[in-house]
């Protein structure tokens, strides 16, 4: 009887759930809080930000499956891949009680046996409680006929304040050296699963890295991060915006942009997209050019962006010309 109470709502919700986004959104972005705060999708044409705070790839995978299934108009999938996502901390995000109890109930109906098995194996003690919360959540959805998931799966998060100045001042003492001694193989495995799933559905996939403050603690594992990217994800193009110039007051903290920073970055990113960033062969080269243009004209960002757009046009023309020869 208990099994019925657990499984039937799961089945119904799986069938009736709605993950539908606007038809105009051809590009979707997934990830954790870094892209959630960096990509203001109201400023970026045809992009829908579906990132969610503290979301490891395990839960993103469940979301990706449903979003792609119900939104055939999506052509391109951007997935945040940044320094902290290789760290064993992501295991805690996957099955630690604090995170599992909020994420698992949301995505239970879309998980398969292997997914459930992973959680049971790694945190059997808290799994039962999370399963109970999940059943309650599902029953509530059934009783209220609420099958809408679009409003709970993520989106741009606006943060107005900035704590970077004060923390940067106080960080004159040498920061604690954080190195990734242990990798989260589960997180990396699920990133691979996401990439494979997107490929099977014929979507273009890019890994992206949002801007981070130079003092961001996880940048310490940069060598390891680049090694992993090269070793495991070399077949997927990587768009690195890490060094996009944002002043301290554009950061909410070292890992997250605030509204000011996100606006600057998103406007620039929008121009980059409109300039055909995703269609050129040398994407990172273009990104670096774009970043240089912003740095050169940082005092008047809008002018810089305009000049960059013009430059891009020139560049594309000359690039096309060069290819013709």
């Amino acid at each position: 009887m208990l099994a019925v109470i657990i499984l039937v709502p799961n089945y119904i919700i799986n069938k009736k759930s709605r993950f539908v986004i606007s038809n105009k959104s051809k590009i979707v972005l997934f990830g954790h809080s870094h892209p959630e705060c960096a990509f203001n999708d109201t400023l970026i044409n045809s992009l829908k930000n579906l990132s969610h705070s503290a979301e490891p790839y395990f839960y993103t995978y469940q979301k990706v499956k449903m979003v792609l299934l119900q939104n055939p108009q999506i052509e391109t999938v951007l997935i945040e891949f940044t320094n902290n996502q290789i760290d064993a901390k992501m295991d805690e995000w996957t099955w630690g009680y604090k995170y599992m109890s909020s994420m698992f109930p949301k995505y239970t109906p879309f998980m398969d046996r292997a997914d459930i098995g992973l959680l049971v194996k790694n945190n059997p003690k808290d799994f039962m409680n999370c399963l109970s919360v999940s059943t309650r959540t599902n029953l509530t959805r059934l009783l209220t006929s609420n099958y809408e998931f679009t409003n709970v799966i993520g989106g741009y998060l606006r943060i107005n304040n900035s704590q970077t100045n004060s923390t940067a001042d106080s960080s004159t003492t040498p920061p604690i050296k954080i190195t990734t001694e242990r990798l989260s193989f589960v997180n990396l495995h699920y990133l691979q699963k996401i990439i494979v799933y997107c490929a099977v559905r014929g979507k273009r996939v890019f890994l992206v890295r949002s801007p981070q403050h130079r003092s961001y603690e996880y940048l310490k594992n940069e060598d390891e991060f680049l090694r992993i990217r090269q070793k495991m994800f070399s077949s997927v193009e990587f768009l690195d915006f890490n060094k996009f110039p944002i002043a301290d007051d554009g950061f909410a903290d070292f890992g997250h942009l605030n509204y000011k920073g996100a606006s600057k970055f998103s406007n620039w990113f929008n121009i980059m997209l409109n300039s055909g960033l995703l269609n050129t062969d040398k994407k990172q080269f273009l990104i670096n050019q774009g970043i240089s243009a912003v740095i050169a004209n940082d005092k008047t960002v809008s002018l810089a962006l305009q000049s960059f757009a013009a430059h891009q046009l020139d560049f594309r023309l000359s690039y096309a010309k060069a290819r013709t020869y």
Binding site: M1, I5, S101, M128, N129, R136
Partner: protein, 483 residues
């Protein structure tokens, strides 16, 4: 291995099946199996402390036999005190040494002498207070010629280590449990069914009420300096229900599990929050410990025979010791003394045995006066629990100080989902109603056995299981395991 854990859910059926279907025909095999299962259960906590348990058992077993066979009163006394000193010595080292060392250092600092206390980095062996008291009661009973020494080591070891009571009681007496251990046990369907029912009720109390309340109580007590008086009152109330449902839930499960094996353990709780005065509360709360102190401390000290002053002195002593038994911290001692103060007027005016009957017996509701008495007793208890739960005396005083401020008359607010708080409050109300309606039975839902229609019974069981599943809190360790 917690009673409400998955591992125990596997362990119990295995032992049950082996006990009745493999070892069922021989009492000796049954006892050996239960002893092995008990040692395995204990080793799951920390196998190193199994040696301590076996040593303590062996000590009391040997001293018991030596006392029985002693040719002189002097020799008898020697073996008795050897057992008492070694038992209390272990308890002192593992549980109280650091407390005394730290307290001594503070006292020295107050007179200007600064010393670094030499503390032991030891983990408290789980259940040490419980099995030490088991052993002590056995040795004292032999010394006082109430019982004869047990010659069968397996039977005696099982009396000390029987897994349902090993880590958090009830504190058994040799006079009650040993005869059951030595008696042939055959499977009794009604007893086993009653045991399962009691386990179910205990599980509901622990997994739903206690574990839900603990999440809120922990948040409020941990951040008490930032909350309003009304929120702190709510925190104290959550803890009041947490500790009762945690401990009585454990006891219900222990009693129910023992009944599955054909053994009756001592009742530990009798609806204490429906008590009309503090004396009645202490007759209904942790009964096995209260009666232990009564029989082995209060009465030997003279009990209530020597006039009012003796009664007052002895009452203070047992509450002081009771507080200290709970833990090496001034908060527990204060909690004990506060309860002694509460009970003092009843002792002085000889009113401590007024409310011996079950409240509102044969009636659906209490009278207005009874309701007021219950409310007053409950409020005093809630207040005392603040000391029990606080991490230090200063924490307790600041907590109480914030309660008695203007913010007492505001709407409680703390970092938790309102829906979850509301759910928990509703569950507590449901729980109180069920407890009230079952207060004339051994445990709240014992009277369900009298329902003739099976369908009603099964509907209730299923609802309870469903509630346990849907509203279980995060699995928490039983509070009394630390004692």
């Amino acid at each position: 291995m917690l009673f409400n854990s998955l591992s125990f859910a596997l362990f119990l059926p295995v032992v049950f099946v082996l006990y009745w279907f493999v070892a069922g025909k021989s009492l000796k095999y049954q006892n050996v199996l239960l002893l092995c299962a008990s040692y395995f259960f204990y080793a799951c906590w920390d196998w190193r402390f199994l040696f301590l348990l076996v040593f303590s058992t062996l000590l009391d077993y040997v001293t018991g036999i030596k006392m029985s066979g002693a040719g002189s009163a002097k020799a008898r006394k020697f073996w008795f005190w050897l057992s008492v000193i070694v038992n209390l010595g272990f308890l002192g080292v593992f549980k109280y040494f650091n407390f005394f060392a730290a307290s001594m250092a503070i006292a020295m600092a107050n007179i200007g002498l600064h010393v670094n206390p030499w503390t032991l980095k030891v983990i408290l062996p789980v259940g040490i207070s419980f099995y030490t008291f088991h052993g002590l009661s056995y040795v004292i009973d032999i010394y006082k010629n109430r019982i004869k020494a047990e010659r069968n080591f397996i039977d005696y070891s099982l009396f000390v280590s029987f897994f349902p009571l090993l880590v958090a009681g009830p504190i058994e007496r040799a006079t009650h449990l040993l005869p059951q251990v030595k008696k042939v046990r055959t499977f009794d369907y009604y007893m086993a069914a009653d045991g399962l029912r009691q386990i179910l009720w205990g599980l509901f109390k622990k997994a739903v009420i206690a574990d839900q309340c603990s999440e809120f109580a922990n948040v409020i007590f941990a951040n008490s300096s930032g909350y309003t008086g009304s929120t702190l009152v709510l925190g104290a109330l959550f803890f009041t229900f947490q500790i009762y449902c945690d401990f009585s839930g454990y006891s219900d499960m222990a009693l129910g599990i023992a009944r599955l094996f054909g053994i009756d353990l001592l009742r530990n709780f009798a609806f204490p929050y429906f008590s009309r005065d503090i004396a009645e509360f202490w007759r209904r709360w942790h009964i096995s410990l209260s009666s232990w102190f009564r029989d082995y401390l209060y009465i030997p000290l003279g009990g209530s025979k020597g006039g009012t002053w003796t009664k007052v002195r002895n009452t203070f002593i047992i509450f002081l010791v009771s507080g200290f038994w709970h833990g090496a911290n001034w908060t527990f001692i204060t909690w004990g003394l506060l309860n002694a103060l509460y009970i003092m007027p009843l002792i002085i005016f000889n009113k401590n045995r007024v409310n011996l009957q079950i409240v509102a017996q044969g009636r659906a509701l209490p009278s207005l006066w009874e309701f007021f008495q219950i409310l007053l007793t409950f409020s005093l208890t809630v207040f005392a629990w603040i000391f029990f739960r606080a991490t230090s005396m200063s924490h307790a005083f600041s907590y109480i100080g914030r309660i008695f401020s203007k913010s007492l008359f505001t709407v409680p607010q703390f970092d938790a989902s309102r829906v979850m708080v509301f759910e928990t409050v509703i569950l507590i109300i449901v729980f109180i109603i069920i407890e009230w309606s079952g207060r004339e039975s051994q445990y709240a839902i014992a009277s369900l056995a009298r329902f003739k229609r099976k369908s009603y019974r099964y509907a209730f069981y299923f609802s309870l299981i469903l509630m346990i599943y849907l509203f279980m809190g995060r699995e928490q360790q039983f509070i009394y395991f630390q004692f």
